[in-house]
Amino acid sequence: MYTLITGLYKQWTQKEEFYVIILGLDNAGKTTLLERIKSIYLGVAGLPPEKIAPTVGLNIGKVEINNTRLNFWDLGGQRELHSIWEKYYSECHAIVFVVDATDKERIEEVKETFETVITNDTVEGVPVLMLANKQDVPSALKVHEIKEIFNPIALRLGARDSKVLPVSALKGDGVQEAVDWLFVRLQRNRTNRPPIFRN
């Protein structure tokens, strides 16, 4: 009886947690996105965009939706830091890959990097959300253009959930839709990558 009650009690009080890593080249807008997510979901002001420096380390954002916690890990995008990304793969439940849609010159580099990420065995089946960022800039590549560019490697995504969405991390446009997409896919993939339970 006691174990039954404590069991039920645990179910009521324990929170489900998911971990989402935010990847992408340097200057893509990952930290700006994280600060935007924090300001939308936590109502805190967050760092002003001009105070955000290139990341060499880790920034965390914790957001609660329907009694479920999403933990975002924002990592550094500089080339020398890519080898660190994979250290997080076994613990992550989803990947957000941020693309600077205004930087057409680096799109090949983005493609190679993205391919390396999605073909890593440790993240097989993990939902991947690509964000075409900086849509507030008129010349930014649109979602259909990004899709066209990435089409040749789309097959390599395998059987996972994936999507390309337009956002402006700076203005906040599309950010909520992106988090909503993640929330649904995290739940859908829960038999593959079960959430962590915490009190």
């Binding site: 060499v56 380390g57 880790l58 965390i60 830091l81």
Partner: protein, 192 residues
């Protein structure tokens, strides 16, 4: 914080007080880094006939204060010598942020740093309190010193997943990187 202090702080008239702890092995450059920030924040005085006292190994710890942006920092500059490291844990409770200084030129002792770092991070007081850490990969002016990326690998920093952290290459002798690191920490402390 009382109403008036809170009000004046918002207006930027009163600087908010924050307390930080600066840790790292002996000889890594902790006191030299703090001396830089104290010098930068004090009103330039008339040139004194005597030069500032030379920096010597810290005994126990030393309490320092300086202003940076709109924050008033109280710093516990701890001695990094083996026999004083036992003192560190007594200061975890009252600290808002950690500064960890590495001698990036001292590859031999990276294993010792790693051990000390993890013993600090696994302390109960710091497990309950997810305060941010900035690492200075100091002495970058020395030839052959490790880059921040190499320090991450040597220390296993990617294992720190429950708090915000950042690493910056610095040189306390020429001042490089110091503001970048403190700026990041200040940004973290302002958020609360």
């Amino acid at each position: 914080m009382g109403f008036w202090t809170a009000f004046l702080t918002t207006l930027g008239i009163v600087r908010r007080r924050v307390s930080i702890l600066i840790l790292g092995l002996d000889n890594s450059g902790k006191t030299t880094i703090i001396a830089h920030f104290i010098r930068a924040s004090s009103v330039p005085a008339a040139p004194s006939p005597t030069s500032p006292p030379p920096i010597v190994p810290t005994v126990g710890f030393s309490l320092e204060k300086f202003d940076y942006e709109n924050l008033n920092f109280t710093v516990f500059d701890m001695s990094g010598q083996g026999r004083y490291r036992e003192l560190w844990k007594h200061y975890y409770d009252d600290t808002d942020g950690l500064v960890w200084v590495l001698d990036a030129g001292d590859k031999e002792r990276m294993a010792v740093v790693r051990e000390e770092l993890w013993s600090v991070l696994s302390h109960k007081a710091l497990q309950q309190k997810k305060i941010p850490i900035v690492f200075f990969a100091n002495k970058m002016d020395l030839e052959g010193s490790l880059t921040p990326q190499e320090c991450i690998a040597a220390l296993g920093l990617e294992e720190i997943r429950d708090r915000n952290w950042n690493i910056v290459a610095s040189s306390a002798v020429n001042g490089e990187g110091l503001n970048r690191g403190l700026e990041w920490l200040a940004g973290q402390l302002k958020e609360r």
